[in-house]
């Protein structure tokens, strides 16, 4: 079964998956392929002639059942830079009962003949459910507390560009792991690529049996950050700060917020990351967040566009080729 490349000169090897629903289950080769192409797009985006025609004629739909500015914007920009037609659909969680029309929505989208669908939904598994009902490729743009694969890819790309590799790096994920899809995707990706992952959080913010995912668990920032190459902070939702999961913001910041005092326990050249949006003074001190020598937070945003370009490119071509067979 021969697959004819769309443009013989620069055609990437076929990506072996129809959708990108999560990092769990991807091989090191799959991840490298996505990161390598992302790297190319990152360079291209910095130069002139950013607007390409790679996905000319393709339709990308961003379907967001949850509020998001940066992820949606990032997908939108990625699609537009590749020359695709991009449509945003935001379904406010209040306008319809959540999820009630998810399968109906899928049927509607099928009728629109989209090529790639990027979906965010407040329920874990909802994107997978949708992917079973649509004809196009689906990218999980975050489903509940399950996965957020493009975030993990952009984090990995950011680290790789700074450190040259992921293997054997010691990475600490700090904060609300229990409710974080970013944490799960990062754990899978970093471990698959040979990095070692620690989590640091109070037990109330850790999901059950997390150590069975192969991570080291710490409840103390100083011990958890010791000798780390990368410190990745996670956002703590406001409603979880007031006595439900942690007693108060000030107590949380005192013991789990990243400041210079705690950061000195990490390696001297340790880098700081945060998926955003940040709660300054809750999980991260402003000075640390804005430290241009240590903080990669803005670079993460930049890499987000490149990663999403790579994902859209590979999946859209996969769908086209599958359709042409």
């Amino acid at each position: 079964m021969a697959i004819s490349p769309i443009s013989p000169e620069s055609a990437p090897p076929p990506y072996p998956h129809r959708h990108l629903l999560g990092i769990e289950g991807l091989s090191p080769d799959d991840i490298s392929q996505l990161l390598d192409l992302s790297e190319e797009y990152a360079e291209q985006s910095r130069g002139r002639g950013r607007k390409l025609s790679t996905l000319s004629g393709c339709t990308c739909i961003n379907l967001f059942f949850e509020n998001s500015t940066r992820t949606r914007t990032s997908f939108e920009l990625a699609g537009k830079r590749l020359g695709a037609d991009v449509i945003n659909i935001s379904v406010g969680s209040s306008s319809i009962k959540k999820g009630e029309t998810l399968i109906d929505t899928a049927m509607t989208l099928n009728a629109m003949h989209a090529d790639v669908l990027a979906v965010r939904h407040p329920d874990a598994g909802a994107v997978k459910l949708l992917s079973e009902k649509v004809n196009c490729a689906v990218i999980n743009a975050g489903d509940g507390s399950h996965e957020h694969p493009t975030q993990a890819l952009l984090d990995a790309l950011t680290i790789r560009r700074r450190r040259g590799h992921l293997r054997d790096l010691q990475v600490a994920l700090c904060g609300d792991i229990a409710h974080s899809r970013v944490a799960r995707s990062n754990i899978y990706l970093l471990q698959t690529m040979g990095a070692r992952v620690r989590v640091v959080a109070p037990p109330t913010l850790l999901p059950p049996e997390l150590e069975r995912l192969g991570v080291e668990v710490f409840h103390d920032m100083r011990r958890g950050l010791a000798d780390c190459d990368i410190v990745m902070m996670l956002r703590l939702q406001r409603e979880r700060m007031q006595g439900t999961f942690v007693p108060s913001i000030r107590e949380y910041f005192r013991f789990f917020g990243l400041d210079y005092e705690k950061l000195q326990f990490a390696k001297p050249d340790a880098l700081i990351m945060h998926p955003g949006p940040m709660n300054r003074g809750v999980e991260i001190d402003s000075q640390v967040a804005d430290d241009i020598d240590r903080s990669l937070i803005h670079e993460q945003v930049e890499m987000g566009v490149a990663v999403r370009m790579a994902c859209l490119d590979l999946l859209a071509h996969g769908v086209r080729e599958a359709g042409a067979l």
Binding site: E24, K98, G99, E100, L102, I103, H121, D123, A124, G125, A126, K128, L129, D143, G144, S145, H146, E147, R181, R184, P207, P208, E209, L210, R212, L213
Partner: protein
Amino acid sequence: MKRTVYRNARLLDPATGLDAPGGLLAENGIIADLGPGIANGATPEGADVVDCGGAVLSPGLVDIRVQLREPGAEHQEDINSASRAAAAGGVTTMIALPNTEPVIDDVAGIEFVARRAREVKTVKVFTHAAITKDLAGNEMTEFGLLREAGAIAFSDGPVGVSKASVVARALSYATTFGALLMQHPEEPSLVDDGVMNAGELSTRLGLPGIPREAETIMLDRDLTLVEMTGGRYHAAAISTAASVERIRAAKSRGLDVTCDATPPNFALNELSIADYRTFAKLTPPLRSEDDRQAIVEGLKDGTIDLIASDHAPQDQDSKRLPFAQAAPGGIGMETLLPLTLELAHNGHLSLPDALRKVTVVPAERMGLPVGRLAPGAPADLVLFDPGRPWRIDADALRSKSKNSPFDGRLVQGQVLRTVVDGRTIYTAPEM
């Protein structure tokens, strides 16, 4: 006089341990005689003859926990469709849970079910009554009047009564009438927004978990209250290894306590959820393999007295949703027999001991004169081939709802004929 002779059967009465070739004579809906002689003797004049072909003839199954959805949600199930499902599953007596709309918390509700059962006239239908009005967990229902009207036991259905004071008073007051309380032990504040067993899998799937301790804590509390009040108590659908331990200890202290397990909790584990399969979203949730094995052990050593289907019909629209939003529950009456027989096929229980848990034990605990092959007992019978293999096909089941967590499973043991009060209410299509 209507007489039927069932000949050439393997008579199996779990109550007495009888397991022998023979026949059975039913007269006017009552078992008149049974034994090896019936197979060979002359047919009584005017009697119908059923050749059993060597299949097992046993008492019909008694399923003590079934959600009928009538009144209130007849698009999911009704007494007629549930009765047909029961008949096809070899269930001759089913006892409904009171979580209908309206809730069965007064005499009129009991009478409604009884009247509908008479109209449908298939299997025997009884109902439990609510422990608290409107299942709200606060005010007790009229235990005495409801008992007189025919309520079997008292239960708030798939929710446990969460206030200790209410449970203490209900257990205590129920002793006046010798009534049995059946609790689904699950502490709601620990369940919170949980939708599956808490553990590695819930962490991987990013779904909020229900810790095993939610079950243990309410069970511990209830057992303490049983000790305090001298009440009668039945724990519904226990699902954890710790619960088996707690019941074992309570029994050794001499408390009037029994419990049951459901087929999902002894035949499946949480891995059935795989990629968010909502048909495997159940109450209590599917647990780990260690828990499943402990439930099997509890069934073997008798700590777990009986098996109930926990039949909970849900329509497609309630299940084809993201996992957290999907309604919990699975249908189970038509698959109760083969899944119970798995315990025998897998060597955990003898065939009569497996059948005890779905016939005489539930009947006796619920105070019903059914579930045994004995002269004078109602001719409620199931004829089945214990070895015949088949594949569960949810779409072919007779419930209005098709939400079986066992869809596609290969099982052994097929119902050939179901008889209630001497009337054949089901015969397998091949016969």
